[in-house]
């Protein structure tokens, strides 16, 4: 009896720090994969839009795979098979790589939609002013198309942030994994899951709030 009491200790302030730190790791892994994945995905979206036949035949199916195979399977497969081709990534890096490509595959469609949201006549108008292809792309298509698909992109961001929890299957101690560790020790699943949920909410809520503000400002 005595032993088991000292083994299952209650939830303390230190544990809160432990969870907080894990939340920062979730944030960090998400920020990395979302920013690199967004850049990469935007590039892929542009390639898909330009429709160079070869690119469409090569990139599109690969993106489809990343989009449709469950993330957890991608993570486990990559973590276990990458060493065979000489890539000895730790759980963190494996998670970032897979989450980045996963994000990119989602953003590619969003980005293509953004480019296609800019009417052809708008692009002709900017070219008729003497803008080069790239000037039109950066000064006209990016801001106009970007705003059109901003809500969809925020959706991807929030989704990836939640999905980053799956990196815990590789043993990386982010928020979800940290909660599991604490639950095993304290045997207080409800309390700890509630706290972890609150952390996820605290990460996501500011993003959706901030996004709303932007959308309102742009719709004026």
């Amino acid at each position: 009896m005595q032993n088991s009491i000292s083994f299952f200790t209650g939830f303390g302030i230190n544990d809160l720090w432990f969870l907080g730190e894990a939340a920062l790791k979730t944030l960090w892994i998400s920020v990395l994969s979302i920013s690199v994945g967004t850049l990469l995905g935007t590039f892929f979206g542009w390639v898909l839009h330009e429709g160079k036949l070869a690119a469409t035949l090569t990139i599109a199916p690969v993106l489809d795979v990343f989009r449709s195979v469950p993330l957890i399977i991608q993570l486990v497969l990559f973590y276990n098979f990458a060493p065979i081709i000489g890539l000895n990534f730790d759980p963190f890096l494996s998670g970032v790589v897979i989450l980045t490509f996963y994000t990119a595959s989602l953003v590619a469609n969003v980005a293509r939609g953004g480019i296609e949201a800019v009417p052809q006549s708008m692009r002709r108008a900017s070219r008729s002013l003497g803008m080069s292809y790239w000037q039109d792309l950066f000064h006209v298509v990016l801001p106009i198309g970007g705003r059109a698909v901003f809500p969809a992109w925020i959706g991807v961001v929030l989704g990836v942030m939640k999905d980053s929890a799956l990196v815990s299957v590789l043993g990386y101690v982010e928020l979800l994994k940290a909660s599991q560790v604490l639950i095993t020790r304290t045997q207080e699943p409800l309390l700890i899951l509630a706290i972890a949920g609150a952390f996820y909410f605290a990460l996501s809520y500011p993003i959706s709030r901030y996004a709303n503000k932007f959308e309102q400002r742009w719709s004026k």
Binding site: R124, A125, R127, L129, G130
Partner: protein, 240 residues
Amino acid sequence: MIQVRDLHKHFGDLHVLKGINLDVNKGEVLSVIGSSGSGKSTLLYCLNSLEQIQQGSVHVDGIDVHAKSTGVNTLRQKLGMVFQQWNSFPHLTVLENVALSPRIVKGKSKEEAIAMAEKQLKHVGLGDKFKHYPNSLSGGQQQRLAIARALAMEPEYMLFDEATSALDPEKVGEVLDTMRLLAEEGMTMICVTHEMGFAKEVSDRVAYFHNGIMEEIGPPEQLFGSPQSEHTRKFLANVR
């Protein structure tokens, strides 16, 4: 001067322009009329290389528009263009809409670009809208914004592709007035239009397009008064 010689344009199997020959002199106002699908817009797009051509040539001030060695982005600065859709940049204020291309295309300083934008906006009667966003403007105002935006590149020619066709009837007048003002100031203009009154009053010459062929061209009195071609007569009888 714009010189079009034996211009042919195909979209796949569709032969849209079938050998156009046309000279437009400096200071001249040419109106282009004709039924839908006759190739009027396509002709304008071929003049500033927004469309490629399959045969013939277009020269603007002696520059071969479709030559490989021609820098189209420089050439297009000579030819302002206004479309049926006004295409305002919704993310920029009225002033920024006009100042953008002088700054990024011509490489003007911010101050110079803004000064140019203010000047052209006053020119088209939008001097009190600098800080507004386009979606708070009426269609007529947005089309005048498009005209100011084109003028800010200091073009020597202005191409209008049915600039008033998408407007509410009560807004047509203000845009035509702006076009009339430019004509009076000596701008060289090619106006594709369905506004026969405008074509009659403002243009030096009127061209009638039918099925990819320029059926007839001449002073408005002649084209409207005593059209030579059967097709022209039929078309005019229908629009009157």
